[in-house]
């Protein structure tokens, strides 16, 4: 019974895909009679099925050895490409989280997008998204993971480009695709190399191979760097991070998925590839550098944002930076736990933010204020989500951070410093946003703010409850184990809470006290502005790329096009003109050219005959 149940686990990723495919008629051409909602309901039904299936599988896999499912996709000339899935508590647990968050996002979208006639396309894309993410969670093969990452890149492009008639969406979708593609391309190079070096691309086989692999340090490093490029792009890490900021142009329900699940996908693949990456200390070092730089850099960038979605999206990059640090220190459990708690908390924050946007019709935090007393669900969601993403109350991230501190301390005490700093800065940022949006005086755009309808508030409240119960859930699942170390656990907990409190206080202070900004303005006006703009415009990274890579590619390509047109083609034309210089008459009309051509054939035939005659005579 259990066996046969487990053997059905490969269905799970297909629910979302099936929903997407079957609703294509609504999504592309539109169905003439009636509206697009049946497509939305069907996709939701499919997600419910995925969730139920995942929940039935969970007890079946609990405590068992991982089960490998495998399907030979292409086998030819000694090359075997298989689609392999792993059914283990971790993967099925991930699938349940994915399906649940996806369902929340879809119910939410039913409210958020209720006036959008392209609802079917949106839900089809969400279904595709969900299917690909579920597949990625279960994938046990690097090639399959790569393929799914690429499909995620595609669906991100389409989801960000959902409002394709909006100019900034167009550039955002393009940048999201190309940035991720740069990472994916390097990853593909890594996959191609590995496919030639390793016996198979199965993750377990790769791990076994890596133990005995005899690679030169240089090739191991280059291989590892190529492999981490994909996750760097996917997880919006410096220097491929700016797409996430731009991707906030997309619809908010997609932002919920993107900031919680999609970014996590990259890190998940990274964790799976970790044995290969460990071949080179330089690669692990690179992970630490990238992760630390992003964690601190993105936390600072978030502080300078006035757009409510962007203020939160940068903190997503920051948390993924912490995950990178954990993987760099070979602490995969830490990375997974951080991913989980972050996903659940960030999804809730983004739900709250979407409600605020819908109610106030603006995303500018400086235009908001005084919302709290009128919006119970939205305010609760923000407070709970915020508390769960920093280590203030004993909610998810608090425990995950303690778990992380205990395990990172023996390897890299400095990482605790990074963790504290990011935690403090995030607390500061969230408090700043909270004070601006929910407290303070009402402004013109927040003058009338009735709470949103149930399709949005129900998922918000459910997820709030999950977040509040997160310590219990984590404990029940046995994920909160403690390790004995030289530093007692309460020290970590205390310093985490202290850093959060400090952040909150500063956040409260800068929004309520005019003094600091005024004082700073007066003293360091110039420096302040430069620093602020530097952060507000995302470290100018986009501008940097625009003026380096984009200019270079555009310049080279137009140079080559000119070269092609004038030199290559010109020379050819000159030769052509020279050869048929006498036959200008032949060139004038089509029949003339046909004659010229027939002449050529005739000449050819004559040559044949002549040649044959000579050989025969000889």
């Amino acid at each position: 019974m259990t066996e046969s149940l487990l053997l059905t686990s490969w269905w799970v990723p297909f629910y979302g895909l099936a929903g997407a495919v079957l609703t294509l008629p609504w999504a592309t051409v539109g169905v003439r009679s009636g509206g697009p909602r049946p497509a939305a309901y069907f996709n939701m039904l499919m997600t419910v099925l995925a969730l139920v299936h995942g929940l039935t599988l969970l007890p079946a896999v609990w405590g068992r050895l991982p089960l490998q499912l495998e399907y030979t996709w292409l086998e030819t000339q000694g090359m075997r490409l298989a689609l392999e899935l792993e059914v283990s508590p971790v993967t099925i647990g991930a699938v349940v989280v994915i399906a649940f968050l996806s369902l929340c996002a879809q119910i939410y979208a039913l409210g958020y997008m209720e006036k959008d006639w392209a609802l079917a396309r949106f839900f089809a894309l969400l279904g595709f998204f969900e299917g690909a993410i579920c597949g990625l969670a279960m994938s046990n093969n690097l090639l399959l993971s790569y393929a799914l990452l690429e499909m995620l890149t595609l669906s991100t492009y389409l989801l960000v480009g959902f409002w394709y008639a909006q100019p900034l969406v167009v550039t955002a979708a393009r940048d999201a695709f190309l940035t991720k593609r740069v990472g994916d391309l390097l990853l593909l190079m890594g996959v191609v190399v590995l496919a030639n070096l390793a016996p198979s691309l199965n993750f377990q086989d790769l791990a076994i191979w890596a133990e005995t692999a005899n690679l030169s340090p240089l090739s191991a490093t280059l291989l590892g760097l190529a492999l981490i490029a994909g996750p760097i792009g996917k997880c919006a890490q410096i220097p491929l991070h700016f797409w996430l900021d731009e991707a906030m142009e997309g619809p908010n329900p997609a932002s919920i998925m993107r900031n919680s699940l999609v970014v996590a996908c990259g890190a998940y693949v990274l964790i799976k590839m970790q044995p290969v990456l460990a071949l080179s200390p330089w690669v692990l070092g690179a992970l630490l550098v990238v992760g630390t730089a992003t964690a601190i850099g993105a936390s600072c960038v978030a502080l300078a944002q006035i757009d409510i979605k962007r203020a939160l999206s940068h903190s997503t990059s920051a948390y993924l930076g912490l995950v990178f640090v954990a993987v760099g220190l070979e602490q995969n459990e830490v990375a997974l736990l951080l991913l989980l708690t972050h996903a659940v908390a960030k999804a809730l924050l983004f739900m709250s933010v979407g409600a605020v946007i819908l109610i106030t019709s603006t995303q500018d935090v400086t235009e908001m204020g005084g919302l709290w007393s009128r919006l119970p669900a939205t305010t609760t969601a923000f407070v709970v989500g915020g508390a769960a993403s920093v280590s203030l109350l004993p909610l998810g991230t608090f425990w995950a951070s303690i778990y992380a501190s205990e395990r990172l301390w023996p390897w890299a005490p400095w990482a605790i410093g990074v963790l504290l700093l990011v935690n403090g800065l995030t607390a500061l940022n969230l408090t700043r946003v909270y004070c601006r949006v929910f407290l303070g005086p009402r402004q013109a755009k927040t003058r009338r703010a009735p709470e949103i309808a149930w399709p949005m508030s129900v998922p918000m409240l459910s997820l709030s409850i999950i977040n509040i119960l997160s310590p219990v859930i984590l404990h029940e699942l046995g994920l909160l184990t403690s390790v004995e170390g030289p530093v007692p656990t309460w020290v970590f907990g205390g310093s985490l809470v202290a850093s959060s409190l400090a952040g909150c206080l500063v956040g409260w202070w800068i929004t309520h006290e005019k003094l600091p900004t005024a004082w700073v303005h007066a003293s360091f006006a110039q420096t302040w502005r430069v620093a602020h703009d530097f952060l507000a415009y995302d470290l100018y990274i986009e501008r940097f790329y625009r003026q380096t890579i984009v200019v270079w590619v555009a310049g080279t390509s137009s140079l080559m096009a000119k070269f092609d047109r004038h030199l290559v083609d010109g020379v050819v034309n000159m030769i052509g003109v020279a050869t048929i210089a006498g036959g200008e008459g032949l060139k004038r009309s089509a029949p003339g050219q046909a004659q010229a051509y027939l002449l050529t054939i005739l000449l050819g035939v004559i040559v044949v005959c002549a040649y044959q005659l000579t050989t025969m005579l000889r």
Partner: protein, 375 residues
């Protein structure tokens, strides 16, 4: 001193001004225009009829209901209706709520002043207390978030006001269509006159709102609030829906750093008179819902007119939108004429001058609307 010449206007839309002074409308007269306008107003009338019934149902019967699952059913839930609802074979009431939210968010001056007054707070407080009397959870919520339910009550008031406004407009358009069918409406100015007369006739209808809670009646907008149809519903509606509205997510970026949306709501020009009809049917364009609803109720002659176009059925919603905008310019004409300082056919030069200034003021506002495209 500038000479006033009745026959010339230096305004870029001078032609329109002269036409209006001569008794015309914003929209040029013509049989095609007339047919489109009347036909589309006919289907609009049918749709509005469904809209106002539902708005009033929500305002009256779904007052402070936390989970209004069946709010679009007007109290008649049956299996066939539910199946139709799920199959999306229904009127898109979401659009009427969208218009209500536009009014709520942009505000109707006098109504807002009343809703912020202690008088309303007292009345709403009583209704809310009655409503949550046997619901301790809601009571707790009310205590934790004291402005939550009052704000919802204010929203209910807007539901009701918009419903009352459309309750007058819907039959007005249907009668217009009947008169057109009988041959009584022969030109665009006739349409304008019909609407203007209708507006004037209803101008002083009082706006009131009361809810029944467990058999007891709670007045939320009493007659003492002194709110009337024309100035407190029609004019704010035109301002909020025709002119300002919300930026469409499908065409305008909400990104705060990009600064595409003005921080001043008075600068908003995303309303029905301004919107580009071409993206209709696309993603992030809410008026598509209205066009879809009207498409289901087009009079036969108009449907055939559309089918005869280049793309026929395929782009019908865009064509409906164009016709709808034409008809809304007729409604706007009626409003402009109704609010003019002096009768438009006055003979006194000083009154003419005042009217001219008034019209030019309007034309300034309409410069970037779809009006130039129709002239």
């Amino acid at each position: 001193m500038v000479m006033y010449d009745q026959k010339v206007s230096s305004h870029p839309l001078g032609r329109v001004i002269l036409r209006m002074e001569a008794g015309g409308a914003l929209l040029p007269d013509g049989s095609d225009n007339l047919m489109e306008v009347v036909g589309v107003l006919k289907s609009y009338g049918v749709v509005l009829d469904a809209y106002w019934r539902n708005l009033l149902y929500i305002a009256d019967r779904q007052f402070l209901v936390f989970f209004p699952f069946f709010k679009y059913f007007n109290g008649k839930v049956s299996l066939p209706k539910l199946l139709d609802h799920w199959a999306h074979q229904r009127i898109n009431y979401e659009f009427s709520e969208y218009c209500m939210k536009a009014m709520l968010w942009h505000g109707a001056a006098k109504l807002d002043a009343y809703l912020d007054s202690p008088a309303f707070a007292e009345r709403a407080g009583r209704a809310i207390r009655a409503k949550i009397k046997f619901n301790p959870a809601a009571g707790l919520l009310h205590r934790l978030f004291p402005d939550f339910l009052p704000e919802w009550a204010r929203q209910s008031c807007y539901y009701s006001v918009l419903g009352q406004f459309w309750r007058v407009m819907s039959p007005m358009f249907l009668v217009l269509s009947d008169r057109y069918d009988r041959g009584e409406i022969r030109s665009i100015p006739d349409v304008v006159a019909h609407i203007k007369d209708g507006l004037v006739a209803a101008a002083n209808l009082p706006l009131t709102y009361a809810v029944d809670i467990r058999g007891e009646r709670y007045e939320l907008i009493p007659t003492e609030a002194d709110l009337h149809f024309l100035m407190d519903a029609a004019v704010p509606y035109v301002e909020a829906v025709f002119f300002r509205s919300f930026p469409f997510m499908g065409t305008v970026s909400y990104n705060a750093q990009a600064g595409q949306i003005s921080e001043n709501q008075a600068d908003f020009n995303y309303g029905a008179l301004y919107a580009d009809p071409l993206p209709i049917g696309g993603s992030g364009i809410p008026p598509t819902l209205l066009m879809q609803d009207m498409k289901q109720h087009l009079p036969e002659y108009l449907r055939e007119y559309y089918l005869g176009s280049l793309r026929g059925e395929e782009d019908m919603r865009v064509q409906i939108c164009v016709s709808f905008q034409k008809s809304m310019f007729c409604v706007t004409t009626a409003a402009i004429l109704g609010l003019a300082p002096y009768p438009i056919d006055t003979d006194r030069p000083d009154q003419q001058r005042a009217n001219r200034a008034y019209l030019e003021n309007w034309m300034d506002r309409l410069m970037h609307s779809r009006l130039p495209a129709f002239n």
